[in-house]
């Protein structure tokens, strides 16, 4: 059967041509040679009419199958060649991914402000709102309302910056206690993070530093509650359960008053040469107490009905402890090289 032979010859010839093709252009040429208008296969299909009708159907089917085969193989080969050509192109476009980034990368936070925001968030979770007050404050709010009249020796505890008109830079965030009580009344839960100022400048004192005041006024407030609140706040901030101890102390605006020591976050008391706690195992972190009735009264709240607790915590100290920073004064000189150093120095070796 010459037709059958022809079909096989075409297939063989196609297979041979395809094997030799390596570019899309060669594929095109093969396509024209076999399935183009004058292509070998097309010729055979055209010659079908000359066959006797009983053969026509069988041969026609074989030819169509061959055409489908050829087109399929051409498509496959085409895709294969395109892929390999792309791949070659991609390899020629290879870059050094270790070259530096273009444009900016993200900046860094200030440890004290980060501390401030974290603590405010933690305290919001405990039901405290954030209150604020002026930094240039009146003597009345900074001292007198807090049970510290002008003659009182407790004023020696806080060396104060004054303005010629008698106003002062607040020496603590405590004036916000009074302002908040006057503004919101009782019951009340507030924290006030902010800058405070004292006339003090040496290696461990900066004339400006930061504090967070906390105040809770309600009925039947106990020392237990203050204790629970302090440990909840500090455990959340340091992300671990720490030990605490309280020492009796004195602040004119609280009675009784205490100071809080926290287990050394660096050594937990296991290192006699610890650079953070100097081997004592404890760190002084906050002053606090039950709000003095005179202060409640100055806030126009009835001390027979309400009482409360208040605390003041040094944010700089918290930041130093959390981030292992040794020198307070580094916080306030705006030197980017210092702060970026905590972030792997992405733009620095």
């Amino acid at each position: 059967m010459p037709e059958d032979m022809n079909i096989n010859a075409v297939r063989d010839s196609f297979t041979e041509s395809l094997a030799g093709a390596s570019t899309l252009q060669e594929l095109d040429e093969i396509r024209v040679k076999f399935t183009g208008k004058k292509g070998t296969l097309t010729q055979l299909l055209r010659s079908l009419g000359k066959l006797p009708p009983e053969k026509r159907k069988e041969i026609g089917q074989s030819l169509n199958t061959l055409r489908d085969e050829i087109e399929n193989e051409l498509d496959l080969a085409g895709r294969r060649i395109r892929d390999s050509e792309n791949e070659k192109q991609e390899i020629s476009e290879r870059i050094d991914v270790t070259l530096p980034q273009k444009g900016r990368i993200s900046g860094a936070f200030h440890p004290v402000l980060q501390t401030m925001h974290e603590l405010a968030d933690i305290m919001q979770g405990l039901g405290y709102s954030v209150a604020s007050g002026p930094e240039v404050e009146e003597d009345y709010y900074n001292f007198e309302c807090l049970n510290v009249p002008p003659w009182h020796p407790a004023r020696d505890m806080q060396d104060t910056f004054y303005f010629p008109d008698g106003k002062l830079l607040r020496t603590h965030t405590s004036p916000v206690q009074i302002r908040s009580m006057l503004q919101y009344g009782a019951p009340l839960r507030i924290v006030c993070p902010g800058k405070v100022y004292r006339r003090d400048n040496d290696t461990t004192h900066s004339p400006m530093f930061t504090q967070m005041e906390g105040l809770l006024v309600d009925k039947n407030v106990s020392f237990s509650m203050m204790k629970g609140t302090m440990s909840e706040m500090l455990n959340a901030f340091f992300g671990k359960s720490l030990r605490y101890r309280f020492r009796a102390s004195y602040f004119p605006f609280t009675e009784p008053s205490m100071e809080l020591d926290m287990e050394c976050v660096e050594c937990s008391g296991h290192d006699a040469h610890c650079r953070v706690c100097h081997g004592t195992g404890w760190l002084e972190v906050a002053g606090m107490g039950m709000v003095h009735p005179n202060v409640i009264r100055a806030g126009k709240i009835d001390p027979d009905e309400y009482n409360g607790f208040a605390f003041g915590i040094g944010l700089d100290r918290m930041a130093m402890l959390k981030y292992g920073i040794g020198d307070l004064r580094l916080f306030f000189d705006g030197n980017i090289s210092y702060f970026m150093s905590g972030f792997g120095g992405a733009e620095k070796c």
């Binding site: 900016r104 860094a108 405290y128 930094e135 240039v136 090289s337 733009e347």
Partner: protein
């Protein structure tokens, strides 16, 4: 307050308690009086003993040395000294070969011109006793010492001193008596006792000298008493007393003055001793000073007084600023024989005012301002008299002269079970009463739920129930109390607008590459000049401190910019060559009439860095990259910032924009003035500062659905004069779309995509190319519709004077 372990034993039996100084220190610290240090006065001292100079001869080879043979009770030792104040038979302290001095020095043997000397004989200084004796001579001991006695067992030389920090409410603890009472309270098993010299004295003789009246017209003097001592012999105090004073930080002067200081340290009552004959008149009046009156105090300073100050006068002449400091004339001199001892009680308020105003923090003022037990003035005077007799050999049997005003006596304070249990979660009223009794607070009325207590005169700090609770609390300690959280949560805890805004700003700017800084609120006084601010600028008149620490920290900032510039400078100075992108949020302080406001500002600074090279081309921060940061800040709050050409005295004249929100200026963005850049030795610093007040409240964005019909894009390229600003051209394009008018079609987007000047464009002009998108909300636009409109826009733009390219 320095407390001597030895002297404490005069007032309390500590031995049965079996306490170490460290244990006591811990108990004191936890109960409110922090012990800041414990000093073992003998230090490293070892084998220093008393020895008798058996014989003394001058060294034959060098006459400035003397050779002593010392009897130590266990043999004779040869020791050479260059001192001259000893003689044979004297008792001295001897540190032999191998002995160690308090400072740690070990002694050896040494050859002095052929004579071996073993160890040394000691001066007071070498024993660590400053000001006790002449440092160039040997310390000659009283005869009660025996050869071989250890130095640390004699004259309190081996004392232990506690440095206790006394809180301002506890004036009563500024004495050994007070500290003993505190320890008695803390250790209920201990017993108080009193030293010999506090035994009652028979003082009933009339004064041997004429003396007029003591008048106290000023009620601020509660009591004023004078004791008389005649036939006194001014000399050194006994060695033990001198050692005690030196350990307690006070310089021994002479026996009469030392008595007053000693009694003050022991009992807490400030005293003054003076020669009766130096008094201007034999009369004392304590009165308020007159406004504008002057007096010369002991320290040689002329003090201007007010009527709140109290003066002690004699014959109309001021002899002392009451409770604060003596005057120049009165005092004890070596020839004094007739001594008057003054013991008085003053109002803490008055003394506090005077000492704070004048900045005098004398021992007396420090104590009076913290309240001295008024009951002490009598007993301290008697004790001082007894010591005056013992140390100065004076006759003190005269009846003291006294005058008194009303003395405030303590008032009863009620303790309720309810408050006690609320505060301390503990309510054993019987135990509470025992604790209070320990501190000398006596129960007046008993009861199950309520008891009444009377504080002693030494504890004026106890006036309210909370004070009693504190005594109980600090006795029991706070560490055992259970921990819990307050009950019901308040409904809506709010971190507040200011914190929210601040969190947003820092998150935004940090993500955009800025580093957060915090700089001082005070600036150098001349910062307005440095910024070239004109006098009428509100930032040019900062609030300034009356008592700054330094000139660099004097004026309250009115702008955050100087802090950022200083930060950049510091970074560069520390070797930072990378880009500087910093921002700060914080308050500035602006005068407003007689008062001031404290608006929250945010300011940023961008500097390409000292080395701008990079493999992807030079770093290229400029005005427009900073503009993107500001747009990000403001648009995310729901506001639309508008940048218009602006002016600041400290910024680049051609690269400054005012930033408007809702038509009002909230800040600026600019390149720093090149002259200031040159001062800082940098090129290309971009800055911005915004008052965040008006955008603190985040505005809710309004959403509108996108059109479901496709947009058609057309470009328009315009030639415009250089002074024609992009914002104006865009406004003209929008207007032109309105003029070309087609209600169905909106200008959906308008974007500048090219700015070109140079070849083909005349000088003074630039070509600006915009991409426009037209869209309808109701239908798909046909090409014809879009072409017709766009041509209309081109025509309208031509009519506005633009050349369309």
């Amino acid at each position: 307050m320095l407390i001597s372990w030895e002297l404490l034993k005069n007032f309390i039996d500590i031995e049965p308690l079996n306490l170490t100084p460290e244990e006591l220190a811990e108990r004191l610290t936890f109960s409110g009086s922090e012990v800041e240090g414990i000093t073992y006065c003998a230090g490293k001292m070892k084998s220093v003993i008393a020895a008798k100079i058996a014989s003394l001869e001058t060294h034959s080879a060098d006459s400035k040395y003397s050779i002593a043979h010392l009897d130590t009770g266990a043999g004779i030792h040869v020791c050479i000294t260059s001192a001259h104040n000893m003689k044979a038979g004297d008792m001295v302290f001897y540190a032999g070969e191998g002995a160690i001095l308090p400072g740690g020095m070990e002694l050896g043997a040494r050859d002095f011109h052929g004579v071996m000397s073993y160890g040394m004989m000691l001066s007071a200084e070498e024993l660590g006793l400053h000001d006790v004796d002449d440092p160039s001579g040997l310390l000659i001991l009283p005869n009660d010492a025996r050869p071989g006695d250890k130095a640390e067992s004699l004259y309190h030389i081996g004392d232990v001193i506690l440095d206790v920090s006394i809180t301002p409410n506890r004036g009563d603890l500024l004495s050994h008596l007070g500290m003993a009472r505190e320890i008695k309270g803390l250790y209920p098993k201990s017993t108080l006792k009193f030293p010999e010299w506090m035994r009652p004295l028979k003082q009933d003789k009339e004064w041997s000298e004429d003396f007029g009246k003591i008048s106290l017209p000023d009620k601020g003097c509660y009591a004023y008493r004078l004791g008389l001592a005649t036939g006194a012999k001014i000399a050194d105090s006994p060695l033990t007393a001198k050692v005690d004073l030196a350990h307690l930080g006070m310089r021994p002067i002479n026996n009469a003055v030392d008595v007053t200081n000693y009694v003050m340290l022991m009992l807490g009552q400030p005293l003054h001793a003076f020669d009766l004959n130096t008094l201007p008149a034999r009369e004392i009046t304590v009165r308020a000073a007159h406004d504008g009156e002057h007096m010369m105090t002991l320290d040689g300073k002329d003090r201007a007084l007010t009527e709140r100050d109290m003066l002690i006068t004699s014959g109309g002449e001021a002899i002392a600023l009451a409770g604060v400091m003596g005057g120049e004339q009165t005092g004890i001199n070596p020839d004094t024989t007739t001594i008057v001892i003054e013991s008085a009680s003053f109002s803490p308020v008055r003394v506090g005012h005077t000492s704070r105003r004048l900045g005098i923090n004398s021992e007396a003022a420090f104590r009076f301002a913290r309240t001295v037990d008024p009951a002490l003035s009598k007993s301290a005077l008697m004790a001082a008299s007894a010591l005056m007799c013992e140390w100065c050999g004076a006759d003190v049997s005269y009846k003291p002269l006294s005058a008194e005003n009303e003395i405030h006596s303590p008032k009863a304070v009620t303790l309720t079970r309810k408050k006690l249990s609320t505060y301390l979660s503990w309510d054993n009223m019987n135990d509470a009463a025992k604790i209070l009794e320990g501190f000398g607070i006596t129960q007046l009325k008993g009861g199950d739920d309520e008891r009444e207590f009377m504080p002693p005169t030494s504890r004026p700090d106890i006036t309210i129930e909370e004070d009693l609770i504190e005594e109980i609390g600090r006795f029991r300690g706070y560490n055992e109390t259970e921990e819990r959280l307050p009950g019901e949560m308040p409904r809506r805890a709010d971190i507040g607008q200011s914190m929210r805004l601040s969190a947003f700003v820092r998150n935004t700017l940090m993500a955009r590459g800025y580093t957060e800084v915090l700089t001082y609120s005070f600036l150098p006084e001349d910062f307005p000049e440095k910024l070239r601010l004109p006098p009428d600028d509100i930032r040019a008149k900062p609030l300034t401190l009356a008592n700054p620490i330094s000139r660099e920290q004097t004026a309250m900032r009115t702008t955050l910019l100087p802090g950022l510039l200083a930060g950049m400078k510091t970074a560069i100075a520390s070797g930072w060559r990378e880009p500087v992108r910093i921002f700060e949020q914080g308050r500035v302080f602006i005068r407003e009439g007689d008062s001031h406001i404290e608006p929250e500002h945010v300011a940023g600074l961008i500097f390409n860095g000292m080395d701008i090279r990079s493999p992807s081309g030079n770093r290229n921060e400029d005005f427009y990259t900073v503009k993107a940061d500001i747009e990000s800040l403001i648009t995310a709050r729901g506001y639309n910032p508008v940048f218009v050409p602006g002016h600041e005295t400290f910024t680049h004249a051609g690269q400054t924009a005012d930033i408007l929100v809702d038509g009002a200026k909230i800040g600026f963005a600019a390149r720093l003035k090149p002259a200031i850049e040159q001062e800082l030795d940098v090129v290309g610093v971009y800055v911005f500062e915004l008052d965040m007040t008006s955008i603190a409240e985040s505005r809710k964005p309004e959403f509108s659905p996108a059109s479901s019909f496709p947009a058609s894009f057309r470009d328009i390229s315009i030639m415009a004069a250089n002074d024609r600003r992009n914002d104006d051209i865009m406004t003209d394009i929008r207007e032109s779309v309105n003029e070309a008018g087609n209600d169905d079609i909106q200008l959906d987007g308008l974007r500048l995509f090219d700015v070109y000047a140079g070849k083909g464009i005349p000088d003074g002009f630039r070509s600006m190319a915009y991409s426009m998108s037209y869209r309808s909300r109701v239908k798909t636009l046909t090409v014809d519709e879009v072409e017709t409109l766009h041509n209309g826009v081109r025509e309208a733009m031509k009519r506005k004077g633009y050349v369309i390219r």
